[in-house]
């Protein structure tokens, strides 16, 4: 089924990227309000103010009952919260803080992931949820041990929670969309004898 259009929906939820969009769609589905909320992903938090400024046109502000923003707290929940609150205040005239909705129409609110006090992101919540299940205790230790081993070998993750979830999913979910982008980003080199046969085959095309 096609997602609802901006015009059809009573509210807008803004997320950072496509992964977040899918997770929020699932949460909204579980709440029974997926058809009422248009989810706009911003392709990353960079240039957040300009993106929100374009999205939140006077017609959108006049026609929607609620506008919510969910972003990663990253390394500084306080700084991220201040920045998002100031952006929303300047664009909507509403004073907002983490987890709360302003009064009026539209109601405006934002939520920092995982929360207003902890550095992290959506994956932090996902890891908390999965690793705290008693039946996953042994598997969670394996994942932690794997990352510990990588760190000992001098390969530390930029985000530990993303790495934990990535390692966990590498076993639980076979379809990994990161390989292509990782190769393109030169995280994995193709200039190796292992690729010689494939390279020779492709060169005839």
């Amino acid at each position: 089924m096609a997602p609802p259009s901006l015009e059809q929906c009573r509210s807008i939820l803004v997320t950072e990227g496509y992964s977040d969009l899918v997770v929020m769609a699932e949460l909204l589905e579980s709440l029974g309000i997926a058809d009422l909320v248009f989810i706009q992903q911003l392709g990353g938090k960079a240039n957040l103010r300009a993106k929100l400024e374009v999205l939140l046109s006077p017609s959108v502000l006049a026609s929607k009952s609620a506008i919510g923003v969910v972003v990663d707290a990253d390394s500084s929940p306080a700084a991220t919260g201040r920045s998002v609150a100031e952006t929303l205040r300047s664009l909507t005239g509403r004073n907002v803080s983490h987890g709360e909705w302003s009064p009026g129409q539209p109601r405006v609110g934002f939520y920092l992931l995982p929360d207003a006090h902890t550095a992290g992101e959506l994956e932090t919540l996902v890891w908390r949820a999965w690793s705290s299940r008693p039946e996953e205790a042994d598997a969670a230790e394996c994942v932690q041990a794997f990352l510990g081993c990588m760190e000992a070998a001098g390969r530390s993750a930029k985000s530990r929670d993303k790495a934990l979830v990535g390692a966990m999913l590498s076993v639980l979910w076979d379809d990994d969309p990161r390989l292509g982008p990782a190769v393109r980003g030169r995280a994995v080199g193709l200039n190796h004898a292992a690729f010689d046969g494939l390279r020779a085959f492709l060169s005839v095309l």
Partner: protein
């Protein structure tokens, strides 16, 4: 060149203020948000004496009776444009007795069957050309081309501009099959080809170029610029338009419904030394049309996040 516009009580606009206009302005918005009406506003401000003809080209109907917002004939639409350097252009349009007779020097007047217009300045020094989005026959474009290249310098300009978009272009000529004239192009091949075989973007570009080089306008009004053009040809069209606008000093206002068109325009301008593109976003708030101007960082944001503004 217009730097700002103010539109009061014109068609669906209650009060619209647009600042920071660019050399090329792409007007986007949903249906009935006033895209063509904004082109009309520019026709009135730029060339009030010829506005009825320009409106006819853009809208294809007379429609003069309904230009002022309330169809009662009592409301007067007021338009104002501020040009670079501070010159003001003002037009008031309406029906008597709502519109007073012009007073003082430097005021022009236009009297039509349904409405009156008074405008300042009266000399009509600026020129506008309107180009509809409707597909035109090859014969019609050929006739316009023939008129445009009567001045040899215009012929050289057209070929030079086209070469800046497609380096294979050597020259254009009028050719004939039966009684139907058409434009043929020398692309360095053994025979000249019909222009249509050089691509839809090139045909549209020649159509626009010839419309500009003949009258040499200050303002070009292009309705539904992407009409009849495959999305893959939009980049060619915009690269050419950007070059034309800069070289001829023509301020362009174009409407579109196409996200691909907007993205192609941004790419074309992002490659130039000066980013002369603005997006004029029109929208409806409780049935009343409004709008704002988006600059480069906002245009990049809406393209990157794929935000719907049409």
């Amino acid at each position: 060149m217009y730097e700002s516009l103010e539109v009061q009580d014109y068609r669906g606009f209650d009060l619209l203020r647009l600042d920071d206009l660019g050399l090329v302005n792409l007007i986007v918005g949903p249906n009935n948000s006033g895209k063509t009406a904004l082109l009309e506003v520019l026709a009135w401000l730029t060339m009030p004496g010829a506005a009825p003809m320009l409106l006819d080209t853009l809208r294809g109907d007379k429609g003069m009776r309904w230009v002022a917002r309330a169809a009662t004939g009592q409301t007067v639409a007021r338009l104002r444009g501020v040009l670079r350097g501070g010159e003001n252009r003002e037009v008031a349009i309406g029906a008597e007795p709502g519109l007073r007779a012009p007073v003082g020097s430097g005021v022009g007047a236009l009297s039509l069957a349904d409405v009156q217009a008074v405008y300042r300045p009266a000399d009509g020094a600026a020129r506008a050309v309107a180009i509809s989005g409707q597909a035109r026959s090859e014969g019609s474009i050929a006739g316009q081309f023939a008129a445009a290249v009567r001045a040899p310098s215009s012929e050289a300009s057209i070929e030079d501009l086209l070469r800046s978009v497609d380096s294979r272009v050597r020259s254009l000529r009028i050719d004939l099959t039966g009684t139907e004239p058409f434009i043929s192009v020398d692309l360095g091949m053994p025979e000249r080809l019909p222009l249509s075989q050089a691509g839809q973007g090139m045909v549209r570009l020649v159509s626009i170029l010839t419309a500009l080089l003949g009258p040499k306008p200050d303002v070009c009004l292009l309705d539904e610029i992407e009409n009849g053009i495959h999305y893959s040809a939009l980049q060619t069209l915009w690269e050419g338009l950007a070059e034309i606008a800069e070289r001829l000093g023509v301020q362009v206002f174009a409407t579109t419904h196409s996200a691909e068109c907007l993205a192609a325009a941004h790419r074309a301008f992002a490659e130039r030394d000066t980013y002369g593109l603005r997006v004029v976003q029109l929208y409806l708030v409780n049935g009343t049309a409004g709008g704002r101007t988006l600059a480069r960082d906002q245009i990049e944001a809406l393209i990157e996040a794929e935000i719907e503004v049409r």
